[in-house]
């Protein structure tokens, strides 16, 4: 079984509230769009859906409940924690 890493956005359980803590050390390789679209530290989010075969994730985030699609690979850059 694949070890689920709760500390990255990819692999974060669906429909649970989480908070973005920051980015991976490799963040300079991360697409700028992620930050430009507003996935910033301290942002509260929830993964609502994921396309089949580990396809893109559908993430709802922020005060304004923006929605964004991003792949698991992009999620690897984003460090998160689960909120209870």
């Amino acid at each position: 079984m694949k070890q689920i890493d709760l500390h990255k956005l990819s692999g974060f359980p669906k429909n649970k509230m989480g908070k973005i803590l920051g980015y991976d050390n490799d963040y300079l390789k991360m697409p700028n769009k992620i930050i430009e679209m507003g996935l910033l530290p301290e942002t509260i989010f929830r993964i609502l859906y994921q396309a089949p075969f580990n396809g893109p994730m559908y993430v709802e985030f922020g005060e304004e409940k923006s929605r964004i699609a991003l792949r698991e690979e992009e999620g690897e850059y984003i460090i998160v924690e689960e909120l209870n």
Binding site: K29, F53, E74
Partner: protein, 677 residues
């Protein structure tokens, strides 16, 4: 017209904030249709006159930041920065539902010292979500007057016009982005060196990196020790994070939110539309409905058009003086043009559906659903939009690849999109299928319809397959990614989209009409004249078709096309349709109407009866299949080539595409004919 007096203003904002709606509301009456399908990709302009002042509105592609990450965003940034002398100011559209994201770009533009008018659109939508915005406080915090609009209801549009008239564009008093201390000295050095009036411009010229061309004159400065830490990307990230922090502070004072329990439409719809299973079912259903409508709904207008052209042909045939001109007009040009106009309803319906889907926000969901499935072929989820649009026309489809960030994925999409069955292939397919496929049906579906569906499927599969092959040959280390906004669903602009579609269809008719007109005349001339038959003649006139220049040309290429099962007439048809596929129909109409003693017989019947010297039918099953395959694969469209060159800026890839597609077409047709004959 006094062009220079026209005021030019830019319409700017994030994608999906209702820019098109505002544009449409502003320029409702005088609309220039210079745009292409893919609402968000190409820039277009329109005019309006308000209190005797003429204004040109340029609708730029939506963007999230001045730092571009795709071709359409690069177009936006380049225009915004390079054309500053020519335009009066920027009308910036903020959507009330996503103020935060919109303010990032707004403040960047403000800091560049560009005069702006700020518009907040769809405040009613925000209210429905329990969000109230204190406009007065908001305006004070941003240092700019705010115009509230609900563009769909035409509310606030007058105010925008008034503001433009009274030069309400306003520059910011101060720069909202403070240069980080660690870079301050260096930035000031650059600003001084380049004579910039504003620190942010200096900062941006560094942060842009190579994307819009770092300015040559600061190269020497960059080698100094204090510039070592200046990685453009890091600067961009630093800027974005800082800006968002300040935006958060502003918004905290401006927005108040009530708890809201009501589930919104977008949330409800997405439960089904992006569902692991039902999402795909719905997408397939939508495609099915589109194609059903294209073929069945279009039948009625098509019949009317067909009847009108037959009547016109008969009328001119009867009333024009007997002779070659009569046959040229009544059996060449009119049926040729009619053969194209008849497809206008199908093209129109297809385009209309595509516009509506894009407009409503659904296309982004399709990208979400398809991304994982397209990746093994070297494509991106965003490639689905060009691929689907390619079923209408490859030209807008190729242009709509501009929002694919990764260069390799974009190139692959451009290279394979012309394999999709575009509407110009329809006239050819219909004629050939009509000639070689019988009228029977299978499970209630006509054979003819099945074959046509097969051709669509074939185009799609070959596009995927060739992408999978080509991806091995295109080198690119750039990372591929998908980071895409999923907009709220909106009711599409039915009227606006219809207007756009009608414009497109008209362009298609006049464009194709002109080509067919010219080609028909050339074909007619070449068939009317022939090599001299006695020494006294310069050329022979009114020759038998078999002795004409045209026949000579066609017969010249016969050795090349005979193995595919084509006679010289089809050879001429194929040669002429390298200009555009649909020309085949016009050429055939002209050729067959010239070569007969029974003018009242329909062209298609003449084609059906035509036999080779050995008595075999010219349009046999094997030949027909071979023609179908040739038209499915060959690159026969000068306009698409021109667009591919413009978008790739590479003769190498454009040439490669012609050779690859046409080579494949020849090869496959050859094999098919040789097996089936």
């Amino acid at each position: 017209m006094q062009e220079h007096k026209k005021k030019q203003v830019l319409l700017v904002g994030n994608p999906n904030v209702g820019k098109s709606t505002v544009f449409n509301a502003l320029c409702n009456k005088k609309q220039k249709t210079g745009n292409y399908a893919g609402v968000t990709v190409a820039s277009h302009s329109g005019n309006y006159t308000y209190k005797n002042e003429e204004v040109e509105v340029i609708d730029l592609p939506g963007s999230y930041s001045v730092y571009p990450s795709s071709e359409d965003e690069a177009i936006f940034s380049k225009f915004l920065i390079d054309e500053q002398k020519n335009y009066e100011g920027v009308i910036y559209i903020l959507e009330a539902l996503s103020l935060k994201r919109g303010l990032l770009l707004f403040q960047q533009i403000q800091d560049l010292g560009i005069p702006m008018i700020l518009v907040v659109n769809q405040i009613d939508q925000a209210a429905r979500r329990g969000i109230s915005i204190d406009i007065q406080k908001f305006s004070d915090a941003l240092g700019i007057k705010i115009i509230q609009t609900n563009a769909k209801e035409q509310i606030g549009i007058e105010e925008i016009k008034e503001a433009v008239l009274k030069d309400g564009f306003k520059k910011a008093d101060k720069i909202s982005f403070e240069t980080p201390n660690e870079h301050k000295d260096f930035i000031q050095k650059i600003a001084a060196h380049k004579g910039l009036d504003n620190e942010y411009k200096a900062w941006m010229s560094l942060s842009l990196g190579s994307e819009l061309g770092r300015i040559e004159s600061i190269k020497d400065l960059l080698n100094q020790p204090d510039s070592k830490s200046l990685v453009p990307k890091r600067l961009q990230v630093q800027e974005t994070v800082r800006r968002y922090q300040s935006v958060d502070k502003i918004l905290a004072n401006v927005i108040s939110k009530k708890a809201q329990f009501k589930e919104l439409l977008t949330e409800k719809l997405d439960k089904v539309l992006v569902h692991k299973f039902w999402g795909y079912v719905v997408f397939l259903l939508i495609l099915l409905i589109i194609f059903q409508s294209v073929f069945f709904l279009a039948e009625y207008p098509m019949n009317w058009i067909e009847d009108s052209f037959s009547w016109l042909a008969a009328f001119t045939g009867k009333h024009l003086p007997e002779g070659p001109v009569n046959s040229l007009v009544s059996s060449g040009i009119i049926p040729g043009i009619g053969g194209i106009v008849v497809f206008a309803p199908q093209i129109g319906i297809l385009l209309y559906f595509l516009y509506l889907l894009e407009d409503s926000g659904y296309m982004a969901r399709v990208v979400f659903l398809m991304d994982r499935l397209l990746r093994p072929f070297g494509l991106n989820g965003k490639s689905i939009v060009p691929l689907v649009s390619g079923t209408a026309c490859a030209i807008p489809a190729v242009i709509s690849t501009r929002n694919i960030e990764n260069v390799k994925e974009r190139l692959l999409t451009i290279l394979v999109t012309p394999f999709m069955t575009c509407s110009a292939r329809l006239p050819v397919y219909s004629i050939i299928i009509g000639l070689i496929i019988s009228d029977g049906s299978f499970l209630g579906i006509k054979y003819k319809a099945l074959v046509l569906m097969g051709m669509y499927l074939l185009g799609f599969l070959v596009a995927l397959f060739s992408a999978a092959v080509l991806k091995r040959f295109i080198k690119n280390k750039e990372k591929t990614y998908l980071v895409m906004d999923l907009p709220t669903y909106k009711k599409p602009l039915f009227g606006y989209d219809l207007k756009m579609v009608l414009g497109k269809v008209w362009d298609f008719i006049t464009g194709a009409g002109k080509i067919i007109f010219i080609v028909s005349i050339i074909v007619w001339f070449l068939s009317y004249f022939g090599p001299k038959q006695n020494p006294n003649q310069l050329v022979a006139t009114n020759v038998e078709l078999d002795h004409s220049y045209l026949a000579k040309m066609g017969k010249g290429i016969e050795p090349l096309i005979e193995p595919l099962g084509y006679d010289w007439k089809m050879g001429v048809g194929i040669l002429t349709s390298f200009v555009a596929r649909e020309v085949f129909v016009g050429t055939m109409s002209t050729l067959y109407s010239l070569d007969d003693d029974a003018p009242e017989v329909k062209v298609i019947d003449k084609m059906r009866r035509d036999v080779k010297p050995d008595g075999e039918k010219v349009f046999s099953f094997a030949t027909g299949i071979s023609v179908l395959l040739f038209y499915a694969f060959a690159m026969q469209c000068v306009s698409t080539l021109a667009v591919v060159y413009r978008e790739t800026k590479s003769w190498k890839w454009t040439g490669f595409q012609v050779v690859m597609m046409t080579g494949l077409a020849y090869f496959v047709s050859l094999i098919a004919y040789q097996i089936l004959k």
